[in-house]
C-alpha cells in the first residue's frame, strides 16, 4: 500500500474530525492551531532578537521537523495496526491504537499550526520501515516492531526536548510542544515496559535499538552541577532521572534510513 495514500487518508479524515472551523463552531477551539491563529502576533519574528537562542531555525522550520517525525511515527503505527492483523497481540492492541491516535492527532495539530503561522507544512516523506532490509521483519515479528517503536518514541522525546529552546519566543507553541513531548515520553515508557525494559533510559543502554538514539544519556552534569556530588542515589538512577536532548542533525541521521524520499 502506498504510504502517501495512507497519510492523505489519515489527514483528510482527521481534518474532517478536527478542523478549526468545526472547532470554532463548536465553541471548543482546541490545540495549537487555534491558539496560534487567535494570537497571530506571537508569530512575529522580532522576538528572536530579544530571546536569543542557540538554534538559528525558525519556529516554522522546527515545527516542520517535528511534523516529519510525527509522519514517521503515525505511518509506522498505522502500518503496524493494519498491514498484518497478527502482528500485535490482542492484549496489546489498545496500547498501540492509543499511540497511533495520538501520533495522528499530532500530525494534524502541527500541520494546522504551521499553516496558521503562515508556513507550509512539509508533505509526508515515503518511509521504508525495514530500513533497506535491516528490519526486514518489522511487520511480521512483534519484537522487531517493538524495538522500532521504542526507537521512534525515545528519539521523539529527545528530539522535541532539543528544540524547546528554539520555541521559547512563542509561548503557545512552546507549551503545546511540551504537551506533545510528555505524551511521547508516556508512549516510550509503555513500549519499553512491554519489551521488558525499564520505562526510563539507564546510562546509554539501547536495549537492542540503534545506539545513536542513546548517545549522552549517561550524562550526570546538569546545569553545571555534577549530580553525583550532591545526591546519594546511584549514578544509574541519576542518568535515568534526566532525559537528554538530540540535535536535529542527530535525529535526521537516526530517521534517515527509514526515509526513502
Amino acid at each position: 500500500m502506498n504510504l502517501e495514500n495512507i497519510f492523505n487518508k489519515i489527514s483528510s479524515s482527521d481534518k474532517k474530525k478536527f478542523s478549526r472551523r468545526d472547532a470554532l463552531k463548536n465553541g471548543s477551539m482546541k490545540g495549537l492551531a487555534g491558539i496560534a491563529a487567535s494570537i497571530p502576533i506571537l508569530g512575529a519574528t522580532g522576538m528572536k532578537k530579544v530571546f536569543a537562542n542557540t538554534s538559528s531555525d525558525s519556529i516554522i522550520d522546527i515545527l516542520n521537523f517535528a511534523l516529519t517525525l510525527e509522519y514517521l511515527e503515525s505511518s509506522f503505527y498505522q502500518k503496524g495496526l493494519t498491514t498484518n492483523p497478527n502482528l500485535i497481540p490482542a492484549g496489546d492492541r489498545n496500547v498501540f491504537t492509543q499511540i497511533a491516535n495520538h501520533e495522528g492527532a499530532h500530525v494534524i495539530v502541527l500541520r494546522d499550526t504551521i499553516t496558521a503561522l503562515g508556513g507550509s507544512p512539509v508533505v509526508s516523506p515515503v518511509f521504508d520501515f525495514t530500513a533497506s532490509g535491516t528490519y526486514a521483519d518489522v511487520f511480521s515479528n512483534y519484537q522487531t516492531f517493538l524495538t522500532l517503536s521504542q526507537s521512534f518514541e525515545d528519539t521523539g522525546v529527545r528530539a522535541y526536548k532539543g528544540q524547546a529552546a528554539g520555541l521559547i519566543a512563542n509561548d503557545a507553541v512552546l507549551t503545546a510542544a511540551l504537551q506533545i513531548h510528555s505524551v511521547e515520553a508516556r508512549h516510550a515508557s509503555e513500549v519499553r515496559r512491554i519489551r521488558g525494559q525499564k520505562g526510563w533510559i539507564s546510562l546509554t543502554d539501547s536495549g537492542g535499538a540503534p545506539a545513536a538514539i542513546y548517545v549522552r544519556e549517561d550524562n550526570t552534569i546538569q546545569g553545571g552541577i555534577d549530580v553525583r556530588t550532591i545526591t546519594t542515589v546511584s549514578t544509574i538512577a541519576i542518568t535515568e532521572a534526566f532525559d537528554e536532548t538530540l540535535t536535529k542533525d542527530e535525529v535526521l541521521a537516526i530517521a534517515g534510513p527509514f526515509i526513502v524520499s
Binding site: G31, L174, L178, S182, A185, W200, Q222, A237, A241, E244
Partner: protein, 240 residues
C-alpha cells in the same frame, strides 16, 4: 482562606486549553520593547502588575518570583514526590510484586535526584525543607499508594508543561524538559500497573484525544491540588 477557596474553584474550570493562558510576563517584556531587556527579572515582574495577585500578605514560605520562583515551585513538587516514595519504599504495601517494588524504588531514586538537584541549583535561594502530610494515604494498601502516585506524577507532568513558558532562561527550560519527560515515563508506568496494557498509560483523562496534547497547569492551579499533602504553608504570590 478566601483566596484559597477561589484558587480551588478556578482549578475546577479545567485549565486544559492553552487558549486560556494569560498574557505572560515574558510577553509583557517583549511588547514593552527592547529597552526593557537587560533589566532584572524582578523589575520586569513589578512592571507587569496586572499579572500579580495583590492582597494576601505572605504568611508562609513564598516560592519567589521569576525563574527562581519557578525553580522553587519545581523543588517543592519534587520534595513532595521524593517524600512520598521514600515512605512507600520504607515499607511496601501488602502484596507488592517484585515488578512493583522495582519500579517504585527506581522512581524514588529519580525523585530524590530531582529534589537534590534543585536544592543544589537554587543554593541560598532554595525554600526550606517542606513538611508533608500523608495522613490521607493508606500506605499498606496498593490501590491507595498507586492512585496517589498516579496523581502526583500526572500533576508533575502538567506542572512542568504549564510552567515551561514562564521560564525566561533557555538553560532552565532545558532542565525542566529533561525532568518532565521522566515524570511522564513514571506516570505511564504507574498507570500501567493500575490498568495493565490498556490505553490508560496515556489515557484520555490526561491526553486530549482530539489533539494528542498532555495536560498543562499553571502554578495557581497546581498548588491547590498539592496543598492537602503539604503541611508547610506555601505561597506563590509572585507566580502566575
Amino acid at each position: 482562606m478566601d483566596t484559597e477557596k477561589k484558587q480551588q474553584e478556578s482549578t475546577k474550570e479545567k485549565g486544559g486549553s492553552i487558549l486560556t493562558l494569560p498574557l505572560s510576563r515574558k510577553k509583557f517584556l517583549v511588547f514593552s520593547g527592547l529597552s526593557v531587556v537587560g533589566i532584572g527579572l524582578g523589575i520586569a515582574a513589578q512592571g507587569c502588575s496586572n499579572d500579580q495577585v495583590v492582597s494576601t500578605p505572605p504568611t508562609g514560605t513564598d516560592l519567589g518570583s521569576g525563574d527562581l520562583g519557578i525553580l522553587n515551585y519545581a523543588y517543592a513538587l519534587e520534595q513532595l514526590e521524593a517524600a512520598f516514595y521514600i515512605k512507600v519504599t520504607s515499607s511496601f504495601y501488602t502484596g507488592a510484586t517484585n515488578e512493583e517494588t522495582t519500579i517504585l524504588t527506581s522512581i524514588r531514586d529519580h525523585e530524590i535526584a530531582h529534589r537534590d538537584f534543585f536544592k543544589a541549583a537554587l543554593g541560598t535561594s532554595a525554600i526550606p525543607d517542606l513538611e508533608v502530610d500523608f495522613s490521607t494515604i493508606n500506605f499498606t494498601n496498593r490501590q491507595s499508594v498507586l492512585t496517589t502516585a498516579k496523581t502526583f506524577e500526572d500533576l508533575g507532568v502538567s506542572a512542568y508543561n504549564g510552567a515551561g513558558y514562564y521560564i525566561q532562561d533557555a538553560g532552565y527550560l532545558l532542565l525542566a524538559g529533561k525532568i518532565v519527560s521522566v515524570e511522564a515515563r513514571h506516570a505511564a508506568a504507574i498507570r500501567d500497573l493500575l490498568n495493565p496494557r490498556s490505553s490508560d498509560f496515556a489515557g484520555n483523562d490526561v491526553v486530549d484525544p482530539s489533539t494528542g496534547l498532555d495536560k498543562q497547569r499553571k502554578p495557581s492551579e497546581v498548588l491547590p491540588l498539592a496543598d492537602p499533602y503539604i503541611k508547610t504553608i506555601i505561597t506563590a504570590n509572585n507566580l502566575p
